[in-house]
Amino acid sequence: MKHKEYTKIRDRYIYGFFVSVVLTGLAYWFVVSDVFGVGIATAVAILLLALLQAVVQAWYFLHLDEESKPRWKTQSFVFTFIMVLIIVVGSLWVVMNMNYNMNMGPSDMRQYMIEQNKKGF
């Protein structure tokens, strides 16, 4: 490998490392310093940073931008992202909707689950 090429690749990793450290540090700082207070705002901010982190890593470490056709990595990355989204959003939807027909508190729910288990699922 030519020296110039080598430096370029090495520098990419260093940039990537630097950016992910900054993002991680930022998340830590949000929590410690209470800039957004305790509550949903901090959670959202951390989630956004996590998403950014994922993009940074895909870009700098997995080299998704440099891939030549037929772009297997990009395709599988996008596909995986859609699937994870389906599972996460779907799970939230399903579980949050679970009490629709049950409408019971935790202790009643517990009793109900025990009885169901006795019957066998």
Partner: protein, 657 residues
């Protein structure tokens, strides 16, 4: 003296106490002892180590998967016999049946786990290992060592599940072990931990195999074989492995959370401290539903190959077949909630997942029609694999239709958790998956062992399976509609007794069918000289694996074939096969055998054993050793050897007689 630092919670009180389990606990070690004695007597240890345990050859690994799976099939059928004899006896005598309730529960849990993980998944990997590299014109899989490691993880998990018979007993929480029954509070014993670690280890092995086969298909195809020129079996494996890659991490994560719940008293799936048992059910089915497609898609691929070879026609609707497989890949992740319609979700959620479930039946239906049209006006050869196929079409379609029935939430409220459901999924898994894999064993047997299986005995076995299946499961549909819940060990409704008795007779008929398979293999080995396959192409096949001599040599292809069209081998035969010239042979590079796959897997097993019995030092020691050996394998550069062209030429001439 307190020895708990040394042996954790191991103790004599965990030895079995009931006649049935005591029998198993004595019988199994005796069997193991007999094997050890036999190997020592015939001085086969070196042979076993060099030829099998350390092998990285996909075909040999496939054979080992097959052997383990067939042994486990026998155990699984044994469990099934126990279950149905128990319910039949409970009805006839009006008593409690043959076993204690706890034993009955352990048996149905073990039956489910063994049949899914160690029979269906095992046979699937056996067939993929055997057929896939040959089919796409590859010398081996992409990562041969990883393949051996995956197999040994599978084997270690199998030993763990069977060892529970000897010490500690198995989980009694059903095959998916819903909490809170399986939580620390209600099942403190080691049974659930056996279940957890068995699934965890086998699951990781499966995940690694998934990566392996995806890379193999993407990067190891013969020159000229574009994706759309691949055999449908290769397509089905590709789609299946994508599903494995996406679904199995969910299983790993869910089981890990449950392990934390049980080992460190955390609260992911308890009702306290913000935990939610419903989330467990949700997550396990987000894995569980793709899992059933993971089982059945390779079965579809197998039948696509068999029906086109036996009908002597190209497969009807290749592109729609691929499209159907891809559609299933996507939709199989959108239906999981149909497993718990009745758990309390509202109409919107149930309607969405119900409709998705009905939609996923469409690509499956497309396949059925493709196979029927492939047979249409073909010159069908009624060989054993074809008989399995015909049994499959009828049986699987019934199973599919009852599945669509249950996709309607209103109907599901009636039949949820009843034997109707049990009948439905056995209908698809026996009639779909098992029939396909048994057909495939007959189909690819000559390619691996060099002689065919006896046709007549194979057909008798198929008929026994088919009739036994109908007898065993049609009554369960009726019982389910009458309200008999699944996992029922006792009932006081005399009207149900005849149905349970017929079902019991059906299980015995299936057992006869399985027995016939064993007889078939034994008789074929005995008659192997007359059944020898000299041509390498006993079925007049269409795909590349039939272009190699039988048994397929360890390097698969002396010269990698060039592909220009679908069903390459078929058209080559029509054009006249060109024989290879001396100059066509080139040096080839093959992977060296390695013992580390076996060693690391055994250490993983010890780690699991330590976790089950809370032997902390064993967990730490084995984890350190696992990391050490993994690094050692990573630093080992001497992993390949070369066969020179001259040697290869000689070997190939020898193999072709």
């Amino acid at each position: 003296m307190d020895l708990s630092w040394l042996i954790g919670r191991l103790g004599l009180e965990h030895l079995p106490s009931e006649p049935a389990t005591i029998g198993a606990a004595i019988g199994m070690p005796l069997m193991a002892l007999a094997v050890v004695a036999g190997l020592t007597y015939f001085k086969k240890w070196t042979w076993l180590w060099k030829e099998w345990i350390t092998t990285v050859d996909a075909k040999k690994i496939g054979i080992m998967y097959g052997i383990v799976s067939v042994l486990m099939l026998i155990r699984g059928i044994g469990d099934a016999i126990m279950l149905r004899m128990h319910t039949a006896a409970a009805g006839i005598t009006g008593g409690d049946g043959l076993f204690q309730t706890d034993t009955f529960q352990q048996v149905f849990t073990a039956h489910g786990i063994i049949m899914i993980f160690f029979v269906a998944m095992g046979l699937m990997f056996a067939l993929i290992n055997i057929a896939l590299p040959l089919m796409i014109g590859a010398r081996d899989v992409a990562f041969p060592w990883l393949n051996s490691f995956s197999f040994w993880l599978f084997a270690v998990a199998m030993i763990l599940v069977n060892f529970s018979l000897v010490l500690g007993g198995f989980s009694n929480g059903g095959w998916l072990g819903y909490p809170p029954l399986t939580s620390l509070e209600y099942s403190p014993g080691p049974g659930v931990d056996y279940w957890l670690w068995t699934l965890q280890i086998a699951g990781i092995g499966t995940l690694l195999s998934g990566i392996n086969f995806i890379v193999t298909i993407i990067s190891h195809r013969a020159p000229g074989m574009t994706l759309m020129k691949m055999p449908v079996f290769a397509w089905s494996v590709l789609i299946t492995m994508v599903l494995v890659l996406l679904a199995f991490p969910i299983l790993t994560a869910t089981l890990s959370m449950m392990t934390l719940d049980r080992l460190f008293e955390m609260h992911f799936f308890t009702s306290e401290a913000g935990g939610n048992p419903m989330m467990y059910v949700n997550l396990i089915w987000a894995w569980g539903h793709p899992e059933v497609y993971i089982l059945v898609l390779p079965a579809f691929g197998i039948f696509s190959e068999i029906v086109s070879v036996m009908a002597r026609k190209a497969l009807f609707g290749y592109k729609t077949m691929v499209a159907a497989l891809t559609a299933i890949m996507f939709f199989s992740f959108l239906v999981w909630q149909h497993h718990f319609f009745t758990m309390g979700a509202g109409a919107n959620v149930n309607a969405f997942f119900g409709i998705m479930t009905m939609i996923i039946a469409i690509p499956t239906g497309v396949k059925i029609f493709n196979w029927l049209f492939t047979m249409y006006r073909g010159k069908i050869k009624f060989t054993t694999p074809m008989i399995w196929f015909l049994c499959f079409v009828a049986t699987f379609t019934i199973g599919g239709v009852t599945g669509v029935m249950m996709a309607v939430p209103a109907i599901d409220y009636q039949v949820h958790n009843t034997l109707f459901l049990v009948a439905h999924f056995h209908n698809t898994i026996i009639g779909g998956v098992v029939f396909a894999f048994l057909a495939a064993i007959t189909y690819w047997f000559p390619k691996i062992f060099g002689f065919r299986l006896h046709e007549g005995l194979g057909k008798i076995a198929a008929y026994f399976w088919q009739i036994g299946f109908l007898l065993a499961f049609m009554p369960l549909y009726a019982l389910g509609l009458m309200g008999a819940v699944r996992r029922l060990d006792n009932y006081d409704n005399p009207e149900w007794t005849p149905f349970f008795v017929v079902s019991g007779i059906g299980v015995l008929a299936i057992t006869l069918g399985a027995g016939m398979l064993v007889v078939q293999i034994a008789y074929s080995v005995y008659k192997r000289k007359t059944l020898r396959d000299k041509t390498g192409d006993p079925w007049d096949g269409r795909t590349l694996e039939w272009s190699t001599p039988s048994p397929a040599p360890f390097y698969n292809f002396a010269v990698i074939p060039k592909v220009t069209r679908r069903d390459e081998w078929w058209y080559q035969k029509l054009d006249g096969v060109k024989s290879l010239k001396r100059s066509d042979y080139k040096d080839i590079v093959l992977p060296k055998n390695s013992s580390l796959g076996f060693v690391i897997a055994v250490l993983v097993g010890l780690f699991g054993f330590g976790a089950i019995w809370h032997v902390w030092w064993l967990m730490i020691v084995s984890m350190v050793a696992i990391i050490y050996f993994a690094i050692r394998r990573g630093l080992d550069d001497d992993v390949e050897y070369t066969i020179p062209a001259v040697e290869l030429y000689r070997l190939d001439k020898e193999a072709r007689g």
